[in-house]
Amino acid sequence: MKGIEKRLREEAKKLLETGSVSAVLAFRDGYDGDHPVPFAARDVSDADAIVFNEYCTHNLARYVTEYEPGTKIAIAAKGADSRALVVLIQEEKVKRDDLVILGIPCSGMKDARRGTVIDEATTGNTVNPVIHDIMLADQLPEPDTSPYSVLTDLESRGHDARWKFWRKELSRCIRCYACRNACPLCYCDPCFVDQTEPRWADKSPSLESNLMFHLTRFYHLAGRCVDCGDCSRACPMNIPLYLFHKKVAKECEEMFGQTAGMDPEETPVMVDFKVEDSDEILL
């Protein structure tokens, strides 16, 4: 990690010095070393403040859409982050040419608040960035496990048991929208849930309005979610949203034969169709 941090600072310095980018999206120290904060280095003098350690779990692709189109930015991207960038490129929210992607192969990143290793449940086993301009470390061996194995338990339960599970989880939601706002792909303005005409979901948290919000959000991420897991880490109530997103991702893969965020040239599955899509998917 220290090696990556060093390379990251070097590359940031170079890019800022030559003026080839106006900002480098990375991390700096927060109130202590275990709580890094996303950080946009804009000047060579900022580069030494850049840190990278095992707690830098945040998906920086979240910030890319905040820049004016045409602004050149460099971004430190881990595996899942790079897939989010791919989706943003596919959806024309950012141009590939405006990005300098500093790829970071990594695994074993840790959630500072919970102390858990994040790729045990999320990140879709993407240890290596799928697109990059500069790699900051050697590629890691690809894991040979399925990213969907965490779903086995829930999938094996019956409908009533699953409902019981989600009822408990989703009724705890306080609608702070941290999940949505942490998500690199939730860029709608306004979000459907904030619309008043029509009002899709009541403002007060209740099982019903929470269901409306989350189910619709799961749907909106269908074929797009890259399993970075930021929604679930952002949640103050520890709701395992990633399970649902993963399930939808898995179904999309099986039905449409395409994994989200792998190739900038592909069209996201939900804005596409094939005449030969089978009616069996509706059963």
Binding site: F218, Y219, V248, V275
Partner: protein, 142 residues
């Protein structure tokens, strides 16, 4: 008294709705349980409509569109197929039995198929019993 399900039907203007009309004008009997809402195309259906229907107490939702290839807007139903398939998986994973949500293609000339579909779907939903999972209780228990 036997359970009498409430079912929301969403039908596309050009095929299924016209098919339903045909069923009516040719006096084919079908269960009264389905309340049909008309949309211009099955691709106009926002999955949130379906979640909302269940929230408002629907026991089942039946969606009808043109047969693939026959869409009035050429490809609307091909998009809808993907969307509604995902919707179905979401409902399923959340715990709504797959039998409560059905997507089917019925053309304007298939009045009898509309009636048969409604009949079969109503029976299926009836066998599943009332949908109590998503149904709202808020403020309505006064």
């Amino acid at each position: 008294m036997a359970f009498d399900p409430t079912i929301l039907g969403i039908a596309c203007n050009w095929c299924t709705y016209t098919g339903a009309d045909l069923a009516g004008t040719t006096r084919i009997q079908y269960p009264h349980n389905v309340r049909v809402a008309r949309v211009m195309c099955s691709s106009r259906i926002n999955p949130a409509f379906i979640f909302r229907a269940f929230e408002l107490g629907a026991d089942g939702v039946l969606v009808g569109g043109c047969h693939p290839g026959d869409c009035h807007y050429s490809t609307g139903n091909l998009y809808a197929r993907r969307r509604l398939a995902v919707t179905k998986k979401i409902l399923d994973f959340a715990g709504i039995e797959p039998g409560r949500f059905k997507v089917t293609w019925i053309s304007a000339s298939e009045g009898h198929i509309f009636a048969e579909t409604v009949k079969a779907f109503t029976e299926e939903v009836r066998s599943l019993g009332p949908q109590t999972k998503f149904a709202v209780t808020k403020g309505n228990d006064q």
